[in-house]
């Protein structure tokens, strides 16, 4: 295929840069506003580097190097704000770039971590990120103090200017000298009450490049001499390749190679190769069209009989037996079987990440170095994977951080084999290869969110409140993966705050061949739905208003009370709306934040559901950018409402069968409820996440609202399969 004449204007020019790393041609914006490059992995002329995190040029522009990835959650802006706060510079002088993972490796993990997951960038990592800015500021003050013959304490640093008495100087003047200064003690970081920038709503740095098509994602990267690969792994995960016949496609135009990729015996991790066939061509379309016509024979292996109904049947059988004890507590008195009981079984199906950007990677293996562009949530991990697959020293591998078209936990920790696939193909073909998974491959081979089936029982006292509470929760996970993400067995269920005197929580792991990964609020989404719907069942059985029940059962827990009282005030929750309309509430703790939701729904007599409004109240302790926080909370509502309302991957003959958006619908604009966000911040030492916590309370709030609208109790998702009609 050729293009004559091709417009070269947009073609990325790739040349080896002297400082290591690829220098990609880019347009330096003239505006000195807070900004980010369309390709923010590029090595800008940055000026004097004070430490690994920042450099200041002669005009006083500050370049901040962000080690974390930007997948929509706002880390690029958050890290930049935290450093600008401490450095004390004019926000409009800040430019953000992505830090270099190769440098991080060579300099002994200079950025501490390049992982981006678990709502952790602000929550967990703010101390060392802010420290980098504070340290640079104090070094600038120190060199100014020495130059002026005063004590550092007599120098003030404010908005890019150093001042002591009548003397003033810009940061830029002292930046080079500051890099050489060693401080006797590192300064303490500013406390929330001392902030001048953090806590203010700021537009995200990546808005403009994402509004004109110039932001570069991994799927957009083009390097000279590159070829494109479409791949297909066995539709039944861990099935094996028996044979394929390439004679029908090898003469098609543009075909470069047809390559079998083989699993390595004993290597069964999420980032390890599974048996697959790759068709490589001079365009991805040609590769994909040929792959679709390639006849491949698979050995589906021992899991070819597994289906959604067979897994549910197995789960129910296993749930009749005791599970592994997660936690137990008894304060004496009544136990299950000794009083009036409420009992129910809930379940949630398989879900997929469905990032808008299908999984892909571009890798160039050359004799001297390996270059990787991959939509990873952990560049260090991508670096190690490429090094291992190419058989190279990790120090010779350069990962270029790109914008991610969504991540949601599915791109972290080497969660896909695509980096290995692209590395292997580039190694064999001796030229750069871009692998793109078709949307169908992306769904079929994603590391999925596991299904869960849980039985809950509560015993009620005569006053209607529960005295005993037991849960038995079953997960489907592969051998060796007992927990998806940290402690998901506990999230939203055994760590529920309600003050029930006697509690027992059990877990069962049912083996499955489907690989799994974290999925925005892992575990909490499934259990939060079950616990919070069951709470309504228990409250209603006891004759108690569901919101009042939650207030009474969290008495003495100040932050839970804070959120619930705010929810009561802001939402106007009531249970006496006319038939066909209802309100529901739920509250769940996730990633250190307590988040409550109140949903208002309308259900037509024929059973058509409309979610009119969701009020969110969150206690994340602190908020550094209310603008981004509100966006993330709205997004969290959309995320989990989507799965609960219309999601669910269906397993048939060992494989997923609804592998595109026609069979796996997502929430669209007409279904999006109005979302109202309120912060009820307890402050202090609490630092909770923002990106994930609004998901878990949303579906139970909606299901509880549906109950009040229709009298029908929903105990599984998606809602769309339930008959909600009411007479």
């Amino acid at each position: 295929m050729s293009a004559v004449p091709v417009t070269r204007r947009h073609f990325l020019k790739v040349t080896a840069a002297t400082g290591g790393g690829l220098l990609i041609g880019f347009h330096v914006p003239e505006a000195l506003a807070a900004a980010v490059q369309p390709k923010p992995w590029t090595a800008l002329p940055q000026g004097a580097e004070i430490n690994a995190w920042l450099a200041i040029d002669a005009e006083g522009n500050v370049t901040i190097r962000v080690p974390h990835t930007e997948m929509g959650q706002g880390a690029l802006t958050a890290v930049s704000m935290m450093i600008a706060e401490e450095l004390d510079v004019d926000w409009t002088r800040v430019r953000a770039v992505f830090a270099d993972p190769n440098r991080h490796l060579r300099n002994g993990n200079e950025y501490k971590s390049m992982n981006t997951s678990g709502s952790a960038v602000v929550r967990r990592q703010h101390p060392h990120i802010m420290q980098a800015g504070a340290s640079a500021r104090e070094r600038l003050k120190e060199v100014a103090a020495r130059a002026w013959g005063v004590e550092r304490s007599q120098v003030e640093a404010k908005l890019g200017t150093l001042k002591s008495g009548s003397r003033t100087g810009s940061y830029a003047e002292f930046a080079t000298a500051a890099a050489a200064v060693t401080l006797p003690d590192e300064p303490a970081i500013r406390k929330p009450g001392e902030w001048w920038l953090l806590g203010n709503p700021k537009k995200r740095l990546d808005v403009d490049v994402k509004s004109n098509g110039s932001a570069v994602y991994a799927i957009d990267v083009q390097v000279p001499n590159m070829v494109y690969a479409a791949v297909k792994a066995c539709p039944v995960p861990w099935g094996t390749l028996k044979s394929f016949d390439e004679s029908g496609i090898s003469s098609r135009p543009g075909i470069v190679a047809v390559v079998a990729l083989k699993a390595v015996p004993g290597k069964t991790g999420n980032s390890d190769l599974q048996d697959a066939v790759a068709v490589v061509a001079d365009s991805w379309w040609r590769a994909k069209a040929a792959l679709d016509r390639l006849s491949i024979e698979w050995d589906d292996g021992p899991s070819a009989h597994v289906s959604t109904p067979s897994q549910l049947a197995l789960a129910r059988q296993l749930l009749d037996q005791p599970g592994e004890l997660v936690s137990e507590k008894s304060e004496g008195g009544l136990w299950i079987g000794e009083a009036r009981e409420v009992t129910a079984e809930y379940h949630r199906p398989w879900e997929t990440h469905a990032r808008m950007e299908p999984i892909n990677a571009t890798v160039s293996v050359t004799p001297g170095r390996v270059d990787v562009w991959s939509p990873t949530q952990d560049q260090s991990d991508a670096l190690e994977l490429a090094a291992d697959q190419a058989g190279r020293d990790p120090k010779d591998v350069y990962v270029h951080t790109v914008f991610l078209g969504g991540g949601f936990g599915g791109n972290g920790g080497g969660a896909t084999a695509v980096t290995r696939q692209a590395t292997e193909l580039s190694k064999r073909l001796k030229r750069p290869v871009k692998v793109i998974w078709s949307r169908e491959e992306d769904f079929a081979q994603d590391k999925q969110r596991p299904p869960n089936v849980t039985r809950l029982t509560a015993a009620l006292r005569p006053d209607g409140l529960p005295y005993a509470w037991t849960t038995r929760s079953l997960w489907f996970t592969p051998a060796g993966v007992e927990r998806v993400g940290p402690a998901t067995a506990d999230y939203g269920i055994s760590n529920m705050p309600y003050r029930v005197p006697n509690r027992r929580h059990e877990r069962i792991n049912a083996k499955s061949h489907i690989p799994v990964a974290t999925h925005r609020a892992p575990g909490t989404n499934q259990h939060g739905f079950m616990t919070e719907c069951f709470v309504d069942e228990v409250a209603i059985a006891g004759g108690i208003d569901p919101l009042e029940w939650r207030l009474r059962m969290t008495e003495g827990l100040d932050d839970w009370q804070l959120v619930l009282r705010a929810l009561k005030e802001k939402s106007g929750f009531r249970t006496d709306l006319p038939k066909g309309r209802g309100m529901g509430v739920a509250i769940v703790e996730d990633h250190g934040s307590i988040c409550a939701a109140c949903a208002t729904v309308r259900v037509s007599p024929a059973g058509e559901l409309a979610v009119e409004k969701v009020v969110i109240v969150i206690d994340s302790g602190h908020v550094i950018n209310p603008h981004n926080a509100a966006e993330q909370l709205e997004g969290g509502v959309c995320w989990e409402l989507s799965h609960a309302w219309m999601g669910g991957l269906e397993l048939r003959e060992g494989r997923f069968v609804n592998t595109n958006f026609d069979g796996y619908p997502l929430l669209r604009m007409p279904q999006m409820p109005e979302v109202e966000v309120h912060f009820a911040l307890s402050g202090g030492s609490k630092w909770g996440g923002i990106g994930e916590p609004a998901g878990p309370p949303t579906p139970p709030a909606v299901a509880n609202a549906i109950y009040f609208a229709t009298g029908k109790r929903i105990r599984s998702t998606p809602f769309k399969v339930h008959d909600l009609s009411h007479g």
Partner: protein, 158 residues
């Protein structure tokens, strides 16, 4: 076979397969990567471009169907100096999160406003229902479309 395509006001001659979707002709030989691949079956809208001003899903539009038509992509909607009012509104409201779907959202929104300068929420829902956003920016998209309509009305009045 060679095709002459008019993209963002310039004529390009491409030698591509007749059934190749316009999406891949834009993204690969023309390096116009702002238009995104999302599903390949016209279900997500990430690939939306304009053909003679009307929004189409370029992932299911063969190159041959675009011959003789004016193709506009996100790169040609506005310029850095003079962005389209929809892009101005996107910036002011701060719509994008991951941003991957936003080129398609913006192209759908611009086509809507060209037809209905002052759309109601129902008009917006109808015009934008074909564009998925996994990050959940729908409320901000709706707000930004109203803001863009106001900007365009101001311009028209001035």
């Amino acid at each position: 076979m060679n095709y002459a395509l008019s993209v963002n006001g310039a004529i390009h001659e491409l030698a591509v397969d007749p059934d190749m979707p316009l999406l891949w002709a834009l993204r690969e030989p023309l390096s116009l990567t702002g238009t995104k691949y999302g599903c390949g079956i016209a279900q997500c809208g990430a690939c939306t471009v304009h053909l003679d001003g009307r929004p189409v899903r370029s992932c299911v539009t063969p190159v041959s169907a675009a011959i003789g038509k004016q193709i506009t992509t996100i790169e040609g909607l506005g310029t850095n100096e003079a962005p389209h009012p929809v892009q101005v509104a996107w910036s002011e409201v701060g719509v994008p999160q991951c941003g991957y779907c936003q080129s398609g959202q913006i192209m759908s929104a611009a086509a809507l406003l060209a037809e209905k300068p002052d759309p109601t929420d129902a008009d917006i829902d109808a015009a934008m229902a074909g564009n998925l956003c996994r990050c959940g920016t729908y409320l901000r998209i709706r707000k930004a479309i109203h803001a863009a309509a106001a900007l365009m009305a101001q311009k028209g009045a001035a």
